[in-house]
């Protein structure tokens, strides 16, 4: 019997090995829940920037609108006038 046959015989015996049953569920879940951040794709990055830009414009616009609305004595009629003026 040469060395390779010995290795093959050992391997054949080793294949009969029964691996111990180890429950790693809790440890895996712990690692997953700790959270590995997924990399952001180019498309996702575009939508993130678009949302940020929209928010940057919308927040000051809303603030200005509220200030103007509260300052005006008759806000609804002024808005209606502004709209009708714009339509004309």
């Amino acid at each position: 019997m040469n060395w390779e046959q010995k290795i093959e015989q050992l391997a054949a015996r080793a294949r009969e090995e029964r691996t111990p049953r180890v429950d790693v569920t809790s440890r895996v879940l712990a690692v997953l829940s700790a959270g590995q951040a997924q990399p952001v794709t180019v498309a996702e990055r575009f939508w993130i920037w678009l949302a940020a830009a929209s928010a940057a414009v919308a927040v000051p616009a809303a603030a200005t609108a509220i200030i103007l609305y509260t300052k005006s004595p008759q806000p609804l009629s002024e808005i209606a006038e502004a709209i009708s003026w714009a339509i004309q």
Binding site: A11, R13, A14, R15, E16, Q38
Partner: protein, 133 residues
């Protein structure tokens, strides 16, 4: 876990089992490379080898002991050699299956197997083992 985290990249071109075995092979190989880098090898017991194989009947060995001995021998090799020999001898993969699992060409697998076998033979010779039984 590696498979779970890579699940979004699974395209469905190959069966899920093939995809999983490739990941498992890659993870195991990475582990061996890391272990080899840290040089945390188990000492190789030559007497154990002679005792197990000297009588020409390694089949009487307990499966756990046979596996441990085999892994100790393979661990002395470079991770690349260990990978191909483990797949060929222990997992009984043919060239095509080995090629699929490790992502090498079939020619590369054949060359790597031949080199790994030669290195294993030299290793056994250098350890002073009785190779002819």
């Amino acid at each position: 876990m590696e498979a779970y985290l890579s699940l979004s990249r699974y395209r469905g071109n190959a069966p899920l089992e093939h995809w999983l075995t490739r990941i498992a092979t890659r993870v195991g190989y990475r582990y061996w490379k890391e272990k080899a880098r840290r040089r945390r090898m188990e000492p190789f017991d030559v007497q154990e080898w002679d005792r197990a194989t000297g009588s020409g009947d390694a089949g009487t060995l307990e499966p756990d002991d046979a596996a441990e001995l085999l892994h100790q021998v393979f661990e002395q090799l470079a991770p690349r050699d260990r990978l191909v020999l483990t797949l060929r001898y222990l997992e009984q993969c043919d060239v095509a299956e080995t090629s699929r699992r490790v992502g090498w060409t079939k020619t590369m697998v054949k060359v790597q197997t031949m080199r790994a076998r030669n290195r294993l033979r030299k290793l056994l010779e250098q350890s002073g083992m009785e190779l002819t039984g």
